[in-house]
Amino acid sequence: MSVIPEGWEAVIGIETHVELQTRSKMFCGCRVDFGDEPNTAVCPVCLALPGALPVANEAAIDGIVRIGTALDCTINERSLFYRKNYFYPDLPKNYQISQYTYPVCEHGRIVVDVDGEPTVIGITRVHMEEDTGKSLHMGEGGRIQDADHTLLDFNRAGVPLVEIVTEPDIRTPDQARAYGAELQRIVRTLGVSDARLEEGSMRFDANVSVRRAGTSELGTRTEIKNVNSLRSMQRAIAFEIERQVEVLAAGGTVVQETRHWNEATGRTTAMRSKEESEDYRYFQEPDLLPLSIDERWRNRVKASMPELPAQLRARLVAAGADERTAGLLADSPLLAGLFDAAVRAGAEARTVASWLTGEVVAYARRVGASVGELHLTAEHLVELAAMVAGGELSATAAKQVLTGVLAGEGGPRQVAEAMDLLQISDSGAIEAVVADVVADHPDALEKIRSGDAKPIGFLVGQVMRATGGKADPKMVQEIIRRSAGL
C-alpha cells in the first residue's frame, strides 16, 4: 500500500511489549485480571509500600523463555534484573524492574513474507520487566496534553511484561506490519498472551529513520508511539517516512524525538516532554537474585514447543494448499485442524482449502459466529469432497450443500438429497439416456463420427435437459464420444 519516495530508503526497528497472561503478577501474588474494579488487585509490593520485597513469578520466566525459543534466540544461562529509574505517576516505586545487560534472550530472528519475498528480521533482545499502572487523563479528549488531572489504577502495575526489540532490519511499512502480525501469531500460538492490540496486551513502538538509497549511514530517528492496530502501525510508519523525507529533501534536519500517532488525522505529532534528556541510571536490582536458566530448563521448553505458525504454513503448503490459503488457514487453529483432518482422510486439499477459507469463513461472518460454533466436522468435508470427486455433485452444488451443512441441516448427503442437487453419476443410467437422445438425432452422431466435434455440445445439452440437469456433464460427454467411436 505504501511507497517509499524514489531515491530514499527507510530504516525501521520495532519494540514490542507483550503482557503475559499469568495468573498472578510478576513480583507479587496479586491477580492479573483486566476487568477488575480499579485498585482492587494491589498489595504492598506492587504499590511500593516501604519494606515490601519482590519475588519473581516462575511461570513468567518460563513464558519469556518460550517466546525467546520460538524466536530462535540464544537463551542466556545467566541473566539479571535491573532498576530503570524515572519518575512518573503510574510507576509507584519510581523505578521499573527491568533488564539491561544480560537479558533473558538475545540474537533471535523472525522471517516475514511480503508479496512472496521472505525477509529475515533480527531480534536484538527479549527481556523481562513489569508493566506500569494505567492512567486516565481527565479533560477534553482524554489526551495527556489537555488533561487537567489524571486518575491512576494500579491493577496493571507489576503485570509481567516482555519486551521484544528488533534490529533495524525493516525497510518498509508493509514489512513492519507483517512482522507485527507474525509476532502476534507466534505469541498467541505459544499461549503466553492473548496479544490484543486494541486492549494493550500487545503494544508496538516503531523507530523510524530515512537515508538516501545506497548510503549506509543511519539518519536521525524518531520513535512513534500510540499505534493500536497493525494497520495503524503501517500507516504511522508510512506517514513518518514521508514526513522525514520531506524535511530532509527541503534541506532541513530531523529532530530526534518521540512522536504520537493520531489515528483520526492520520499524522504523527511531536510529543511535548521535559527538557532534560532521559537518564535512567540503570543499576542491578539488589532485591532479586540472578536468574539461571540451565540446559535442562531450555530443553524442557524446546520439547514443549507447539507447532509454530511458519511450520504450520509450510505443512499446509506441503499438503497441497497454496501459500495464500495456507496463510489464512494458519491464522485459525480450528480451520487448520479441519483442513489437516480432512486431507489426512483423503479429501482433495485444494478443494477443502478453498471451502474453508471461502464459504466457511464467509458463512461464519454472515451469521456472526466463530468457526468453532458452526456445525462442521472434518467428516463432513471428507464426505462432501468424495461426492464431488465421484461426480455426484458439481462444484457449484457442493458449495450450496456446504452452506446447508453449516446451517445445521444435516450431513452432506442428507442436505444434497433434500436440496435435490445430486447428479446422476451412475454411468448405466446416463448411457440409457444418451442412447435415447442419439436415436432421436442420428445425423448428429454421423457428423461426430466424420470428425465434426460441434454436435457433441448439442447432444450433451439434450441429455442434460432429459435428466433435468442432474447428469454429470463430464460423464455425459465421455459417453457420447464413446458411442461415436471416438
Binding site: R23, E37, V55, Y88, P89, H137, Q145, A147, L151, L289
Partner: protein, 96 residues
C-alpha cells in the same frame, strides 16, 4: 584522586531539592564514595569470576499463585487525593 560529580544533576534526577550548603556537603560525601569505587575499579581482577550478587544463590521463585489483595478503602485512605476508586494526581505535563 578527587572525582568530579554533578551533584545538582543527581539531586534533580532524584527529585530532591537541596540548598547550596547541602549540595556542597552531599557532593563531598558522595565524592568520597566514588573515590573508593575508583580505587576498587583499579584493582587487577582478570582472574576473578564476575559476581552479580553477594550470595551464591539463583532463581528465588514464587509459584504462579494468586494471593489476596489489599482492601481498596484501606489503600486509598493513604492517598492525598482519590476519585471513584482511583488515585487522583495533578496534571502530568505543564499546560500549553
Amino acid at each position: 584522586m578527587p572525582v568530579e560529580i554533578d551533584i545538582a544533576k543527581v539531586a534533580a534526577l532524584a527529585r530532591i531539592a537541596l540548598s547550596d550548603e547541602e549540595l556542597a556537603a552531599y557532593g563531598a560525601q558522595l565524592g568520597v564514595i566514588l573515590e573508593h569505587a575508583e580505587r576498587v575499579q583499579a584493582l587487577p581482577t582478570d582472574d576473578v569470576e564476575p559476581t552479580s550478587h553477594p550470595l551464591p544463590l539463583v532463581n528465588a521463585f514464587r509459584p504462579d499463585e494468586v494471593w489476596p489483595s489489599l482492601d481498596r478503602d484501606d489503600v486509598l485512605s493513604q492517598a492525598p487525593d482519590t476519585v471513584d476508586g482511583y488515585y487522583r494526581v495533578p496534571q502530568i505535563l505543564d499546560g500549553p
